[in-house]
């Protein structure tokens, strides 16, 4: 299971955002991928061929961690979870399997 390797105090979880319809608290400066891994999210997107994918490079080159991100007052964009810091009010959706779209 993916998880944190250091203890995190609740007091540092000051960012509030939405992940797949659930309200979650996050640490300022952490990436969406870090937040998702800390919460045990294993699948970030599904390919058009119906296969699950998750971060491969964790440094912005492979694009396997793409999720849909909507910032407050903005249009949704597809962004790399490993390169996108959490923000207050963000709405994040993992990209669902095709059959569920």
């Amino acid at each position: 299971m993916m998880r944190r390797i250091i203890p995190v105090e609740n007091g540092s979880l000051t960012i509030s955002l939405e992940l797949d319809g659930v309200r979650v608290q996050a640490i300022p400066g952490e990436s969406l991928a870090g937040m998702m891994f800390a919460r045990g999210v294993g699948i970030f997107r599904w390919t058009s061929g119906g296969k699950p994918r998750a971060p491969y490079c964790a440094m912005g080159t492979c694009f396997e961690c793409r999720v849909e991100v909507r910032r407050v007052g903005q249009e949704p964009v597809v962004a790399r979870a490993c390169m996108t810091p959490v923000e207050d009010g963000m709405v994040v959706n993992t990209v669902a399997p095709r059959e569920k779209l």
Binding site: I6, F44, A58
Partner: protein, 478 residues
Amino acid sequence: MENSVDIAIIGAGPGGLAASETCARFGASVTVIDEQSAPGGQIYRQAPENLRQRAEGFGIAYVDGVAKANAVASISAIEWRLGHAVWNVLTPQRTQSEAFLISTVTDDGLSEIEAKRVIVATGCYDMPVPFPGWTLPGVMGAGAIQALMKGQRVVPGKKIVLAGSHPLLLIIAEQMLAFGERPAAVVFSQPMWRAGRLLSRPGVAVSFAEPLAQAARAYAKLLRAGVPVIFSGAVLRADGNDRVESVTLAHLNPATGLPQPDNTREISCDAVGIGFGFTASSELVRLAGAATRWSRTGGGWIAVHDGEMRSTVANLYVAGEVAGIGGAKTAAAEGALAALSALRDAGYGVDAAELRRARSNCRRNRAFAALLQELADPGDELLRALRDEGTVICRCEEITKGQVEELLGQNPFLGTSNALKLLGRTGMGACQGRYCSRSVLELISSATGRGVEDIGQFTARPPVKPVPIHHFGGGVRD
């Protein structure tokens, strides 16, 4: 031109940081651009403030490196553009001016930087090695696992198998142990005697005493912690339902170095880190029209330079992994030399003795890099043996080795990477061919017998980093 800086540096890893420090010392106006929100590059990747605890778990070199990176970042004469991904570089020839035009994208929008000279120090990424199951969630680059620990203080699993041929695997495993995470196994494809034979060459053990001692310490720690460290082994496949649940490990024939299909065993795991080496991030160099050359063990397509870090495009310099995989010290040495060359070309009075010292520092480090490359080389035959017909080659477009071979069989005159991309879509996807280019090259080469330089690479096209379409005023799509 009025607004253009003397020197723009792309990449704030050891290479870019050494370059920026040198430029600032000479009083040049310099802007440093990096996609990450903090300086340090891959090796000194930093966590956000509330996640910085226990940094010493990554070793004293990491703590020092981070401190050094932050010290450079506090030099007020340097302008920092952190969180800026460069998606295009236009040469003065293209802009019909005297300056390069660098286009960046942030979470908030686009911006541009004009610079008379540019140093590209964009580093590298884990070398992609396709094998059955490598697209399953939980299978990642070994460096990626380290990046998650350093940058986010998370691990992708509880039972992690590290496998490949690069000595960095030992260091990553040691760092995991420091955080109480015990790798399920560390697997090297080389026989154990390979390192010994290399080190017994005259002079080698003495000149490389420090990294050797570091690797030996890590190895001893792993053994003490009961971590199986396996030599002459390779992960043949990863299996699982929506996530890796096990890997099949093959024992490699000591004579051929190839997997023995009848000598395998399964290891249960929930994540895998593959580390056979690194691939240079040379997209921007190529985009600017500078020459690259193929280096099988040194990072794939790496930037050509004149020995003083000048690329083949005037006023464009390179440093670090992008000029050939060499590690952090090489990158820093080359960053300093690239800066001295740029400064000298710009008319700053660079002392000949300093230039000489910088050059010899680079040479010394490159000698170590060459040794490391030789030590880490898994050999193409092994990598080829790891993929079968059904193995996905192009992760983005989900194209298998079998499909590529079929296309090549049907089109005997298909002889370049670009032609295959047009016909078969490999390299068309979001990663822009970063993860299939090496396999595509090898598949074309075995089908046609053509040489690597003739097959070439996918042409780099902007944007090399994603730019949301709404920044251009349009709609949104992936």
